[in-house]
């Protein structure tokens, strides 16, 4: 096998600790404990290795990455290595001094997530009183500092009707980019699917709201829109292809092709504590397993779209079809498509209570 192209971007999950408990969190159900987190020197070595391999952008994420006191040090190290640095944060730990330290360290961009535009609903979704007010204050501080800001609104059946107000808030707060992203259904999101999955009418309404705002805000603010693929004919492409562009490193140093890959059974997850990043990228089974199109079963193998969506999401195939190497059940041609049809059909009229993301709650 020829060696793969070098990765473009690295998602560095610095910690799973977080003051919020969003029921759709992309972290795994088994959260990494603080005592096993990589140390500062280990992350610095990883950042150097990533830059040498050809990674261009590092996304510092979590949990809440600002829970790590060494974050400014890591940002400074990334800048020195020539990496573009992005902070993915809930914003609740942003204060004038903590923000200043990050800006001085050379942080390039901040992505701030919101749970809703109504404070009471937002705080209920995050299960943290006062979170929304803190985020509004954080956005103001970021704008005053002049750092480029993307606002990220995660939407689902309980807040999707407020997309127009979300876009207005983003405009008021001076964001250059907004992401309106429907929740995905792996891990915590799958556990809470009945409480999150919108109906078809909601999807249509949000699509229209986004389109109207795109026209109105052209040239001033760009809007990324992610729909839930349960209502599509074909699955979403897996991150430009499994093991093609993207690396994820967990708080304890496991290296994954995507943030949900830890669900895949019977495989050893390589660690930066035991091997170099380049060696893992080129040779570790978790990367080579689904790289390219060789591994594909029918109907993907003979499908015209196989290099467009790469057979969809491996983690979704595992969650819904019980096998990571099946066609993504979202696809209308997939043998297990009925799993998606059933999930939609059995969605209860009233959303059940959330199962919040916290240690030991899965």
């Amino acid at each position: 096998m020829t060696s793969p192209p070098p990765p473009m971007s690295l998602l560095a999950e610095l910690t799973h600790r977080c003051p919020l408990q969003c029921p759709y969190c992309s972290n795994p159900l088994m959260l990494d404990p603080r005592t096993q987190e990589l140390g500062t020197a280990e992350w610095q070595r990883v950042l150097d290795e990533a830059a040498q391999m050809g990674v261009l952008q590092v996304h510092f994420s979590g949990g809440e990455p600002m829970a790590r006191p060494d974050l400014p040090e890591l940002v400074r190290h990334a800048a020195k290595a020539g990496l573009y640095s992005n902070l993915i944060t809930s914003g609740v730990l942003i204060r004038p001094d903590s923000l200043r330290a990050l800006a001085d360290a050379g942080l390039d961009h901040i992505q701030l997530s919101f749970q809703d535009v109504e404070a009471a609903s937002a705080d209920r979704i995050a299960n943290m009183a006062g979170a929304h007010a803190k985020k509004l204050e954080a956005a103001r501080l970021v704008a005053a500092e002049g750092l480029p800001l993307t606002l990220n609104f995660v939407i689902h059946r309980q807040n999707a009707q407020r997309v127009p107000a979300m876009l207005e808030l983003a405009e008021q707060l001076g964001a250059r980019r907004v992401e309106i992203a429907h929740t995905q259904y792996y891990g915590w999101g799958l556990l809470n699917r009945d409480a999150l999955l919108p109906d078809r009418a909601q999807i249509e309404a949000t699509t229209q709201a986004v389109q109207a705002a795109r026209t109105r805000l052209a040239g001033r603010m760009s809007i990324d829109f992610v729909t839930p693929d349960y209502y599509e004919d074909r699955p979403k492409p897996c991150m430009g292809g499994w093991g093609q562009r993207f690396l994820n490193i967990t708080p304890t140093g496991k290296v994954l092709p995507c943030h949900a890959a830890e669900t895949i059974p019977n495989i050893v997850f390589p660690s930066v504590r035991e091997a170099s990043l380049a060696d893992i990228w080129d040779h570790a089974p978790i990367f080579t397993l689904f790289r390219g199109t060789e591994w594909m079963p029918e109907p993907c193998k003979s499908c015209a779209f196989k290099e467009e969506d790469w057979g969809g999401c491996r983690c979704q195939a595992l969650a819904l079809a019980g096998q990571a190497n099946a066609a993504d059940p979202v696809c209308h041609k997939a043998p297990d498509h009925n799993a998606v049809v059933q999930a939609i059909a059995q969605r209860p009229q009233t959303p059940p209570p959330f199962r919040y993301r916290r240690f030991g709650n899965a």
Binding site: L56, Q57, H109, T150, S222
Partner: protein, 98 residues
């Protein structure tokens, strides 16, 4: 969509990179990239030549002069490429006009 920024791109325009965007040479792939929020996009050789001259003080006129000299090409052809590319990157919020 230049009307959205209220500015048209002319030879007296002085472009600069918006904060959070920059031009970067990728030693591994041996190509230039524009680094921007949440994405890095490949700058083709012509774009890279232009963007290397964007420093927040040169006018587009001066950039066009320099490129015409360097490539020994008709100035009008270069001017057309430069103005179109800068207008496009302004729409994409990569460049601002000082």
């Amino acid at each position: 969509m230049t009307q959205a920024t209220g500015q048209t791109v002319t030879e007296s325009t002085v472009p600069r990179f918006a904060r959070g965007t920059r031009l970067q040479y990728d030693r591994v792939r041996e190509v230039w990239f524009v680094q921007a929020p949440e994405r890095a996009f490949h700058a083709d050789p012509i774009a890279a030549e232009i963007l290397q001259l964007v420093d927040g003080s040169r006018t587009l006129g001066a950039i066009i002069d320099q490129l015409a000299l360097k490539f020994d090409a008709p100035r009008a052809v270069i001017a057309q490429d430069v103005l179109a590319m800068v207008a496009d990157l302004t729409d994409k919020q990569v460049l601002l006009h000082a």
